[in-house]
């Protein structure tokens, strides 16, 4: 649970890990109905449509206005987005 929360960038408070663990375990138990299925040779379906080769031309479109975008950002400085120190990023 701790690893899943870390990968999800969610902070667990006291008791959270236990609660989520019990809820997720309950769900996975319910989802065990698929365990018995024989899925060998079944092609995974990642998209509902059989579309291929969808492209756009390499044509310039206008940028958003930087000042408007930065004004809506939580923090900015010198035309850029500002964030706290990046120590501990992985």
């Amino acid at each position: 649970m701790v690893k899943v929360a870390r990968l999800s960038r969610l902070a667990l408070g006291p008791g959270d890990a236990e609660r989520y663990l019990s809820q997720l375990s309950g769900m996975l138990e319910h989802f065990a109905d698929i365990d018995a299925l024989d899925l060998d040779g079944v092609e995974p379906m990642t998209q509902p449509l059989p579309l291929v080769n969808v492209f756009r031309d390499d044509v310039l479109r206008p940028s958003l206005d930087r000042d408007e975008v930065l004004a809506a950002a939580p923090a900015s400085e010198d035309g850029r987005f500002r964030v706290p120190p990046m120590i501990g990023e992985s």
């Binding site: 690893k3 870390r6 990968l7 960038r9 990642t46 998209q47 449509l49 579309l51 291929v52 080769n53 969808v54 492209f55 756009r56 031309d57 390499d58 044509v59 310039l60 479109r61 206008p62 940028s63 958003l64 930087r66 975008v69 930065l70 400085e77 010198d78 035309g79 850029r80 987005f81 500002r82 964030v83 706290p84 120190p85 990046m86 120590i87 990023e89 992985s90």
Partner: protein, 489 residues
């Protein structure tokens, strides 16, 4: 963690039985007008955050649409590297980082566009290409308030998303590289190919070509060692230094009985060392899954053929062509330089105009060594000059002077210039009496020379040159002197 298996490629012993294995991952920014998945500009050097749109910023509701030209450039890269172009899909690589707008990078995973190619080094060795796949670039972070822009000790960081979404091809070599020199050659050759096919401006100093090196060492006959990935290598020269340093570091550790940890290491140009960036843990879990917002790329054979047919002659083939025409080796310095400077067509044109390709090759190469550019002379005029040289009518020294004048005039008739300058042909029949006279005039020197003192020949040749007022060809004189010596002994 990947443990390589031993390949049958030749190993080079570094020191006391240690051998080096290097694989390179090269990220190349493609030379498109716009980004991989949106219409904002792909342009280096703009003010921060001027090339942003909802897709680039990963705004809620924005969707990617693939740039056809980027796909074509990526296919060009693959075909130039002798890869198979195959149907491919995009995956999401999920990780949080402030310069990764969506917190996932759209990349290719188990079905990349190009697979199984190779790159031939100038000397002929083939380096396998495992894959060349498409992905989007990230934004750029600047760290404020720390020492020297380092992440550690910074007060805060600033993010510019101009680079986010720029199309990249990541070219992954097989671990076939055995020396730092081969790594340098690989990157130099790759850069030449990318430039030749107009896929990228491939500037390492601007980051449009970024090289990461996977380095490991092992004892001869043993399986490959644990590898470390070296990042932040910003020039071909640094790449060689970083690999040499890292190999030494790993050998020293192994000799001291210490294990090599699988790490990402940062090359520091200033102290000439690699430093631990992070140790790869099981925690790296990118949760790759197929990108549902994009559909597969299925290149038709016709599309692939049209791109293959439009490829220019690549540097390796151009070197072979020039080598065949000039008699020089394909990896001779003159051939390397002239092809790198894209002057091989000029040199071959000199040959086509009836000139001597070998002489033209030397002139062009020397012009680059001296002034960094090709002699601005019509090929037919240079052809005339080389004809005078090979027929022995001009000495090398005279030819250089004539060439200088051709350059100054923007061309002209080499024979006429030689005549004006009084560069009369002194053929060997005229030289022979002059040589005999010089021998007769300096019996002591001649005796020493015949006895084996090679330096003594200088006095004889010098006397002939003086007598001919510099018009004799030094090589021709030496040849006659040698012939006399052979006859005398």
């Amino acid at each position: 963690m990947t443990i390589y298996t031993t390949s049958d490629q030749d190993f080079v012993e570094l020191s006391d039985g240690w051998e080096l294995v290097v694989g390179l991952e090269v990220h190349v920014e493609l030379a498109t007008n716009t980004k991989l998945f949106s219409g904002s500009a792909n342009r280096f050097g703009d003010e921060p955050n001027m090339n942003i749109d909802p897709v680039t910023l990963g705004l809620p509701g924005a969707l990617p649409v693939l740039n056809r030209h980027a796909v074509e450039l990526a296919m060009r890269v693959g075909l130039a590297l002798n890869c198979t172009v195959q149907p491919s899909i995009f995956h999401r690589k999920n990780y949080f980082y402030p310069d990764l707008p969506k917190a996932y990078q759209i990349s290719q995973y188990d079905q990349p566009l190009n697979i199984d190619g190779y790159l031939a080094l100038p000397g002929g060795k083939l380096i396998g290409i495992e894959r060349a796949h498409m992905e989007e670039d990230t934004g750029k972070s600047t760290h404020i308030g720390g020492a020297g822009g380092r992440i550690h000790g910074a007060d805060h960081s600033l993010i510019d998303f101009n680079r986010a979404g720029v199309p990249l091809v990541e070219i992954v070599s097989r671990p076939d590289i055995r020396t730092a020199e081969e790594a340098r050659q690989y990157v130099t050759e790759l850069r030449g190919i990318l430039l030749a096919i107009d896929a990228s401006d491939a500037k390492m100093e601007e980051g449009s070509m970024r090289v990461d090196a996977n380095v490991s060492v092992h004892r001869a006959g043993e399986p490959f060692g644990t590898r470390c990935e070296i990042k932040n290598v910003n020039s071909v020269r640094s790449l060689g230094r970083a690999i040499d340093y890292e190999a030494r570091r790993q050998i020293d550790m192994r000799n001291a009985g210490e294990p090599i940890l699988q790490q990402t290491r940062h090359w520091d140009e200033n102290d000439g060392r690699t430093h631990t960036l992070r140790t790869k843990e099981d925690a790296d879990d990118y949760r790759y899954f197929p990108e549902p917002d994009l559909v597969p790329i299925v290149p038709s054979p016709e599309w692939i053929a049209s791109i293959r047919d439009a490829l220019p002659l690549l540097p390796g083939a151009r070197r072979l062509r020039l080598a065949a025409a000039s008699g020089a080796a394909a990896d001779a310095e003159s051939v390397m330089v002239v092809v790198e400077r894209e002057q091989d067509d000029y040199v071959l044109a000199v040959g086509a105009a009836g000139g001597d390709v070998a002489r033209a090759l030397v002139h062009v190469k020397e012009a680059y060594a001296e002034q960094g550019s090709s002699p601005a002379v019509p090929a037919v005029d240079l052809a005339g000059l080389t004809q005078l040289e090979v027929s022995g009518k001009l000495t090398a020294t005279q030819a250089k002077q004539v060439l200088a004048e051709l350059v100054a005039n923007g061309g002209g008739d080499a024979a006429a210039i030689a005549a004006v300058r009084g560069f009369e042909a002194i053929d060997s029949s005229s030289l022979e009496p002059m040589v005999d006279a010089a021998i007769a005039a300096q019996p002591d020197a001649w005796a020493k020379f015949v006895a084996g003192d090679a330096k003594a020949v200088g006095a004889i040749v010098g006397a002939v040159m003086k007598a001919s007022k510099g018009k004799a060809d030094g090589k021709a004189v030496s040849a006659i002197v040698e012939a006399r010596k052979a006859a005398a002994s």
